[in-house]
Amino acid sequence: MIALLLILVPLLSGIAAFFLKKENAAKGWALLSSFATVTVSILGLTILNKTELLQFKCSWLPGLGSSFSIQLDGMGQILCLLTAISFPLIFIATWQRSYKNAHNFFALMLLSQAGLMGVFLAMDALLFYFFWELALIPVYFLSSIWGAERRIAATFKFFIYTFVGSLLMLVGLIYLQSLTPDRSFDIKAFYSIAIDSKTQNWIFWLMFIAFAIKIPVFPFHSWQPDAYEQSPTAVTMVLSGIMVKMGLFAVIRWLLPVLPSASYAYGEEMISMWVIVGMIYASLLAWRQDDMKRLIAYSSIAHLGLMVVAIFSESEIGMQGVMLQMFNHGINILGLWVVVEILERKYGTRKLSELGGLAQKAPAMAILFVVVALANIALPLTNAFVGEFMMFTGIFTSPVSAYEMITVPAAGLTIIIGAVYTLRMVQKVIYGNTNALTETGTDIGYNEKLVLGIIVILILIVGVYPQPFLDLTKETTDFILDKAILPSLKK
């Protein structure tokens, strides 16, 4: 029931929002709906945390071997919680912004939330594919209608990129289905098929390209900075905070356990190496950016790359680190986008070269911004430290990798560059002298303080006491790794 509600609440309220003609009514309705989703998600974590409530199954396309089967496992809990928390924060942070045809905007936002929830909940491959696309379509329209100058080309590139990937994934999924004994799309059937390694190899690429585009992994990343830059900030938050997690999530749930030998064959050497190259490349690019949106976009490529490496290291602590870090990254990047949104609204620019000296004019924002920025660097006491520490430990102690002496230092380099570009951004925005533009600056309002405050509290809580999250993901991790690590490699 909880699982079903997580999809139904945003879906139905999204459809209803199309019919609210007044802007404020639509805003209020969207906020109300997102609070309802948070409540459902938290109830599912606490008092209603019972197996029978967390899953739902009914017949859907019996002729095709597919059923409407959803379930909330540990990893799903974390990502659904992230999706649930993000939306009210996004709505509050962008409260002042007014949109043309606001009812359509908020309706599409809620629909994309429903799609995202579905991706994290689906336990049936065809259903998973449905939601995968369902999350994409509203975002395409959101960015194309309400985006910036070059929005049409940028979002179209984004759409074509991901659509090519997902079609290849569809071929992979159908092929896998044809290998199951009873022609079923059920995830359990997928987990139980034994595929020879040659077949695994090419199915792996069909599916991995789809996920790599979504994450995005270098060299499939070129849609990302453009899409982030051209989308309205509320949509960029959804894209970078939650949507990119779809790719990581899918690798963990649909790739590693289904195609273990190919994941081992390509994952820990080839993919890890090229991801690390991409991480360093993205970090260097982030260093040279002047536009804050593009800077954060490139920094995101580096952070997500580390998660990919940690996933393919197939160690328990690394995998748990990834699941925790997916949540953390979503929260932290949301914080950064909120700051960008504030700056853009107040000063009309996102360029580092045109800002400066805001610590004097907006002290509250400066303090909160610095905490979020420190979390982006993964300083101890912040959430990202826990996640990245676990991931590095995982890569270092990987049961499958033989190159940890190369991967760990190389990936560690990106952390250092990460500190460089993040601190450079902080310095250019809030320190130094005020200029003509920032001279008249004022501090942030209550709603922005509230959002950034919540984000900072989450950063610190998870940074100090991550244990509840680790308890949550333990079972999923063990299950996945049990399937993923080849018997010959088990210690």
Binding site: G63, F130, E133, S144, I160, V164, L168, L170, V171
Partner: protein
């Protein structure tokens, strides 16, 4: 059998109605009622009610598949009448004749979906084609329409010649016109049979506008009056596909391995040429002509796979494709400017029509939650389950991704670009019908069993 005879009678009736009935709305009413009666009688035949007791064994067999397809084809024609019958008035003065020709085509469709002898196949295809030549040229003061008609006629006759030759060769090899008696299991097919098969395949490929036999399509579809393009690009094409599958399943199914590679090459070429050329079009009408070639490529995958998933899938595919394309054409007819720029700012002036157009376009592109996605899904599934031809599947999905480019150009023009799209006002009933068609496209995309449960009942 019910529908075949009634639609032929309706054709004759409509022909004379032009003399007897002066009101155009009465003619339209008669056509709609006649078609509705035909549909009802056809459905009753599925449940075992025969209006005429005619023994056609050996010539035709009305099995479930063909009856079901006939229902789909006639229902789509009904939708087509509801949406576009008024537009036919603008084509020329012979209003009732257009209906008569369409009823004759329906009779041809029924013949070619139910044949069990090659003679009936030939008859069916010809009864479809000849009225189409006339409809293409029906805008007789328009040079383009004349040119299209002549071109279509010449090339069409050529392909008919090929088909006759193929039938002759097959008869020479097997000594029978009955499609079940053409190949003997166990014996090796001789050269005559293979040659006949190839000629039949090429002529059918011509009729469904598969590459490299597609060259007539863009000009004919572009030149013909838009209302009739809508009809021939959808229902007629679907019917010829059903004939294609029926012929190759029953007549040549046992020697599937000898010809499937050729079909695979034709499929690949069709997908490639259709999609790539559609990208470069400036007119939405011409883009839809190329898109119909591209969609034919996907439908050919059912001929290639030749299994039960494929034949189930082709029913869904034709339904999804016909509904979406008829809907799109119905909107296109109302536009003053057929170029992509002509759609700029359309969403602002006609939010409802733009919304349903998006649903149709998404369905043609194969985005989930629309019937078009499941249709493509069935085709891919059919080929994968038949074993082999993975390269073709991967090519097909890449081409589907390309198709997004030109379908989304219309969406971009309608929603994201500023402009003054010139639209002829649409009536409320038109809006209702087209919204219902869009709802049906989504419904079939979520619950395709609605179609199939009825098929298997």
């Amino acid at each position: 059998m019910n529908a075949l005879i009634i639609s032929a009678i309706m054709g004759v009736l409509m022909m004379f109605s032009g003399i007897l009935l002066k009101q155009k709305s009465t003619i339209r009413g008669l056509a709609l009622t006649g078609l509705l009666v035909t549909i009802i009688l056809n459905v009753m035949e599925i449940y075992g009610f025969h209006l005429f007791k005619i023994n056609a064994t050996g010539m035709m067999s009305f099995d479930r598949f063909s009856l079901f397809f006939n229902t789909i084809a006639m229902a789509c024609t009904f939708v087509f009448f509801l949406l576009s019958a008024k537009e036919m008035e603008k084509v020329g003065v012979n209003y009732s004749d257009y209906f008569a020709l369409i009823f004759f085509i329906l009779a041809g469709i029924i013949l070619s979906s139910s044949f069990s002898s090659l003679l009936i196949l030939f008859l069916g295809i010809e009864i479809i084609s000849i009225p189409l030549y006339i409809l293409t040229g029906s805008d007789k003061r328009n040079l383009k329409s004349n040119e299209a008609s002549l071109k279509y006629f010449l090339l069409g006759s050529f392909s008919t010649g090929l088909m006759l030759m193929g039938i002759t060769l097959v008869y020479g090899s097997s000594g029978s016109f009955a499609i079940d008696a053409i190949t003997n299991p166990g014996t090796k097919p001789d050269v005559l049979l293979i040659a006949g098969l190839l000629l039949l395949m090429f002529s059918m490929a011509f009729k469904v506008s598969a590459a490299p036999f597609h060259f007539w399509t863009p000009d004919v579809y572009d030149g013909a009056p838009t209302v009739f393009t809508s009809f021939m690009a959808t229902i007629v094409k679907a019917a010829v596909f059903i004939a294609f599958i029926r012929l190759f399943y029953h007549a040549f199914g046992e020697i599937h391995s000898t010809w499937k590679f050729i079909i695979a090459v034709i499929t690949a070429l069709t997908l490639f040429i259709g999609n790539i050329t559609a990208v470069f079009q400036q007119s939405v009408k011409r883009m839809l002509a190329y898109s119909s070639i591209a969609q034919a490529g996907f439908m050919l995958m059912a001929v290639l796979a030749l299994n039960s998933i494929g034949s189930e899938g082709i029913l869904l595919y034709t339904t999804a494709y016909c509904l979406s394309t008829i809907g799109l054409f119905a909107i296109l007819v109302k536009m003053k400017d057929y170029t992509f720029e002509g759609f700029n700012g359309f969403a602002k002036h006609q939010p409802l029509l733009a919304g349903v157009a998006v649903i149709f376009l998404l369905s043609l592109a194969g985005i989930p939650l629309t019937a078009g996605f499941l249709a493509k899904f069935y085709m891919i599934n059919a080929v994968i389950n038949s074993g082999g031809f993975l390269w073709l599947v991967i090519l097909a999905v890449l081409m589907a991704a390309i198709s997004v480019y030109y379908y989304f150009r219309v969406i971009q023009a309608m929603y994201f670009k500023e402009g003054e799209a010139q639209v002829i006002e649409a009536s409320t009933s038109f809006k209702w019908v087209i919204s219902l068609v869009a709802a049906l496209v989504i419904l079939l995309g979520v619950f395709p069993q609605l179609l199939f449960s009825w098929f298997y009942f």
